[in-house]
């Protein structure tokens, strides 16, 4: 077993580095910059039952050490995903985690049903926390009962592990992780973006056409670490950490806080080959610190 190999949810990940949903397309886009075989896993762009056009421009705004996006779940829909996107990913050894978005409980269930027998899909990440769509998204993610119900319903129809992507826009994220666990969910990923707004003082208008967007990037890292620490200390469930990871020390901090795997998101926009760099640096770190396996540091936080 190599020093970075991590086993989770019955799956062997080459390393703990995953590419986050919505930041690498369906694989072929980022494949121009990195060799996907080197990456632990890829979480593909949120898929809904039918194609979605997404929000009007302006969809992106830069903020201090971060960015707001309001893409609005633009995606090709399940049918095209299976026909045109998955075959490309089948050529690689990287684990494919299929991220699913829905505007109703039925839509989540239907998507999982259609995809669960696809051999290239290793697991599902359920997006109950997109802040940029009117229906579904945060309406579910901020409601404990909905998160529980969705977890239970998709788990029932899935032959693959279910990961629920949690919203940080709540007071007690650990209660949501508990709801996932109680309803049979296999893991949580934390955190999705935080609701934010940018305003143009000259026009008095919000910069984004959607008014609000999801805040991501280095500025949300401290929030993500606190939320992960909260989940780890209260609920016994695997955590996939995400939120502003831009280098290998960030990845280490997320693992120390309790993440078994981590996802690289916004950093892919700035440097599309950052994931390979982080994997390289993590290997060097593990060797120079005499780790027999990187998983030794998971949850190794020493609280004051």
């Amino acid at each position: 077993m190599s020093v970075l190999e991590v086993e989770l949810l019955g799956l062997k990940f080459r390393n703990p580095i995953l590419l986050a949903s919505g930041t690498v397309g369906y694989g072929h886009e980022i494949g121009e910059f990195i060799d996907l075989n080197n990456i632990g896993g890829i979480v593909t762009k949120s898929i809904s039952l039918k194609p979605r056009k997404g929000n009007k421009p302006q969809r992106i705004a830069e903020t201090p050490s971060g960015m707001l996006n309001a893409i609005g779940l633009a995606n090709v829909g399940v049918e095209e995903y299976i026909k045109d996107k998955l075959p490309f990913l089948a050529n690689y050894e990287t684990k494919v985690i299929c991220n699913i978005a829905g505007s109703s409980l039925e839509e989540y269930v239907e998507c999982v049903k259609l995809l669960t027998n696809e051999v290239s899909v290793s697991a599902f990440e359920i997006n109950v926390s997109c802040p940029n769509v009117k229906e579904g998204g945060l309406i579910f993610g901020n409601n404990l009962e909905s998160v529980g119900k969705i977890t239970y319903a998709v788990k029932k129809v899935s032959s693959k592990p279910i990961i629920i992507k949690l919203s940080p826009n709540v007071s007690n994220i650990s209660s949501f992780a508990q709801a996932v666990k109680s309803n049979g969910g296999d893991a949580v990923s934390a955190i999705n973006t935080l609701v934010g707004m940018a305003i143009d003082y000259k026009t008095k208008r919000p910069v984004l056409s959607n008014n609000t967007g999801g805040l991501s990037g280095p500025c949300i890292k401290p929030i993500a670490l606190a939320k992960i620490n909260e989940i780890r200390s209260k609920v016994d469930i695997p955590i996939i950490g995400i939120g502003g990871i831009s280098g290998y020390t960030d990845a280490l901090e997320f693992m120390i806080a309790g993440s078994s795997l981590v996802q690289i998101g916004t950093a892919n926009f700035v440097n599309p080959s950052i994931a390979e760099q982080i994997i390289h640096d993590l290997t060097d770190y593990s060797i120079s610190n005499n780790l027999s396996n990187i998983s030794e540091i998971i949850g190794s936080i020493r609280l004051n």
């Binding site: 930041t23 056009k53 969809r59 830069e62 201090p64 960015m67 633009a74 280095p218 916004t266 440097n271």
Partner: protein, 251 residues
């Protein structure tokens, strides 16, 4: 492969308005066509976080230039770069202008949209393509650097060329008797007017669009543009453009 660290050889203010940054070219710029862009990392830390897209202004076989106006944090930071500094550049990106040697072109630029002009001029001249150049700007300082005997200018304040905008120039210079094609780059309002002009005269214009974008390579989906043939989807300015045919998009 298109991510490269390049060495800056010059970064200077051209006129009272624009700056030019020049760096040493590498293999990826060979056979480049005009209208493509670069996505440039501004700082080594997280502020400004995102790269900034710049039109490729010129390539002389040895060096590549970009032309920019200081408008915000990103361009202010890039204006501080010195000769000898290294720059993290992704590109050339996107689809440039599609030049048909048998056609006659009218080049229409507005404001900093004049950036791709030097490379276009080089490309058109070396391929013996005939063209006319119209440049519009706010004032003399916006356009004087590009002035030569073949260029027609318009300024809003009348300080250089005719008083008015580049659309006024276009109306004066296009008589409608020849099947010309327009190559345009400029602010949204200008491109919209060029498109209306082209639609009305039933000629084609190639429009170089701009947008806020996070990645420039199709990952973030942050730069949508409405295509004219399918209201249920968007095209991306970074991947499908930045140059679009006027009949292909709705502005």
């Amino acid at each position: 492969m298109i991510v490269s660290i390049v060495k800056i050889v010059e970064n200077k203010k051209l006129s009272s308005k624009y700056y030019k940054l020049k760096f040493i070219a590498n293999e990826s710029f060979k056979n480049i066509i005009p209208g493509k862009f670069l996505n440039i990392k501004i700082s080594d830390n997280s502020f400004p976080l995102l790269r900034r897209p710049f039109s490729i202004s010129d390539y002389d076989g040895e060096t590549v230039s970009i032309l920019y106006d200081v408008v915000g944090t990103g361009t202010a930071a890039i204006s501080e770069k010195k000769a000898g500094d290294l720059l993290d550049v992704i590109g050339p990106l996107g689809n440039g202008y599609n030049i048909d040697k048998s056609k006659e072109y009218v080049l229409v630029f507005g404001g900093i949209g004049v950036a791709p002009f030097p490379l276009l001029k080089r490309f058109l001249s070396s391929n013996s393509v005939s063209y006319k150049v119209l440049i519009g700007g706010r004032d003399k300082a916006s356009i004087e650097y590009f002035e030569d005997s073949s260029v027609f200018c318009a300024t809003e304040d009348g300080s250089f060329g005719i008083r008015g905008n580049v659309i006024n120039l276009l109306q004066t210079h296009y008589s409608g008797d020849k099947p010309i094609e327009i190559l345009a780059c400029g602010p949204y309002g200008m491109l919209k007017a060029v498109k209306s002009f082209a639609d009305e005269k039933k000629i084609l214009a190639q429009l170089s669009l701009e947008s806020h974008m996070a990645c420039g390579v199709g990952l973030c989906q942050g730069c949508p543009i409405q295509p004219s043939n399918d209201e249920n989807k968007y095209l991306l300015i970074c991947k499908d453009g930045p140059v679009f045919n006027s009949d292909e998009v709705i502005l």
